[in-house]
Symmetry: C2
Subunit: 276 residues, 2 copies
């Protein structure tokens, strides 16, 4: 690449860093890429770091030494996270979402990549320092959320299936009780999909009593893997605390009540801000 | 926001544009955001445009006039696309992917968000000027690819299910014949999910004879919607042309042969470059 001026360098370094979250990039990479001195690169990074912090986009962590470099850690600032969650609550509370049986139609929201990606950034913020090897979800509706989180944390996604597929090779299956219906289901995970002793972040779109997520926790035990955290987009706050199978999770929104007759939905922010 | 210097402005404008692909942003937005004159903003955009083009990240389209602004169109440069596809072919050809029955294990690749996002960028490049209202896929494995494409094109994703779900409301179901097995399956789409006369880009991870995709095409007809294009990550090149149900599609890789006995997989680039 031809030698770039600082202004052009700043643009390119910004896009380079943003497209490589949670990856350590040696300063020599940039120095070579632009034919610049490392000292100039360090000055550029200081400018980018300042803007990222000012705008609440994330942190730039610089590690000194031969094995050092710079790492972009996406972080959603508190005010932006709050605005996102409040907007999500308003969208969820729209009365035309009510379906027969008191179910909530959410597929239009789950179908918006930009909304999923922003939610993924919130989970990446919440679980940034936890030490995670991969993201897990069960098909189907949690998948975009899991990928968005994985993209921001630079981690692979492991997909639990409802049935054993010929394209998955040998697999481990378990039965689990869906908490809300007390019905028995099966979930299955390919033997190749998960290394032993992995630390896993479980992500899903909706949690009622937590039976499905508890199923994933049980499945992890079969792989000698452990839960590093649980993140859900929406939890049902209609479930009594003692009925909940799972107590340690992060939710963005909490569905308090669905009144199918009165056509009213009450949604509040979830527990996202409870711990930081 | 406090008045920013050019260097800081360039960093922030770059991240702002990159996170809003295919969205028209009025220059006054930037002028207000930074307390700068529009002429300064125009100069900044010229620098960003030059770098984006030089680095093969995409185009910045500026539209003049009162309703004008700037739009970032992600575009993968030819060389970068070729490098990605060649790397994908090498990964797919690894002999330990062969499963009983000659199936190919791809879940590790499909589980990498960064790889899916890059593939999505390639589809966004291929279908940038086609005029699309939404992306469609059928559960399960094509979902991350569909969302990646949707994110780059700033379009919603419509998800076809195998079974009718209580959380989807009233739905339209069709039967289709899976070309490779000649077996009959059902797919279903929520009434609310798709507006009439939508132009739809169908995305999937794998296509053999094309029965599943033909099913989605038939489903679109039920909604008076039309196919704007078809993109698949991997096509099976083992299918004879006359057996193929579908001829107009874009593929990134083509699986030529899987020799389970000799433990050999032959993968070639798909037809991605055939038309541009």
């Amino acid at each position: 690449m031809t030698k770039l001026k600082r202004s052009a360098r700043l643009v390119d370094m910004t896009q380079y860093l943003l497209s490589r979250p949670h990856q350590l990039i040696p300063l020599t990479n940039f120095a070579k890429r632009y034919g610049s001195a490392k000292s100039s690169i360090s000055e550029d990074l200081a400018i980018i770091k300042e803007v990222f912090e000012l705008e609440g986009i994330g942190e730039l962590n610089t590690q000194a030494g031969a094995a050092g470099g710079v790492k972009y850690i996406p972080m959603v600032a508190r005010a932006a996270a709050l605005a996102f969650i409040q907007d999500l609550c308003v969208k969820l509370a729209s009365p035309d979402r009510i379906l027969p049986g008191g179910y909530l139609y959410m597929s239009d929201l789950l179908g918006q990549p930009s909304l999923m990606n922003e939610a993924g950034k919130l989970f990446a913020t919440a679980f940034a320092g936890v030490g995670i090897d991969c993201i897990m979800t069960v098909e189907t509706k949690g998948i975009p959320l899991a990928y968005a989180t994985g993209a921001e944390l630079n981690l692979p996604v492991v997909l639990v299936r409802r049935d054993h597929q010929v394209t998955e090779g040998s697999a481990v299956s378990i039965n689990y009780v869906s908490g809300s219906h007390k019905s028995l289901h099966t979930m299955t995970l390919s033997r190749r999909a998960l290394k032993e002793h992995s630390r896993v972040l479980i992500v899903d779109d909706f949690m009622k009593a937590g039976g499905t997520i508890q199923g994933m926790v049980d499945l992890l035990a079969e792989f000698n893997a452990e839960v590093a955290g649980v993140g859900v987009l929406v939890e049902s706050g209609e479930v009594e605390s003692e009925q909940r199978l799972l107590h340690d999770y992060v939710s963005l929104a909490s569905l308090r009540a669905v009144d199918a007759k009165g056509k009213e939905i009450v949604v509040e922010p979830g527990n996202y801000f409870d711990r930081w």
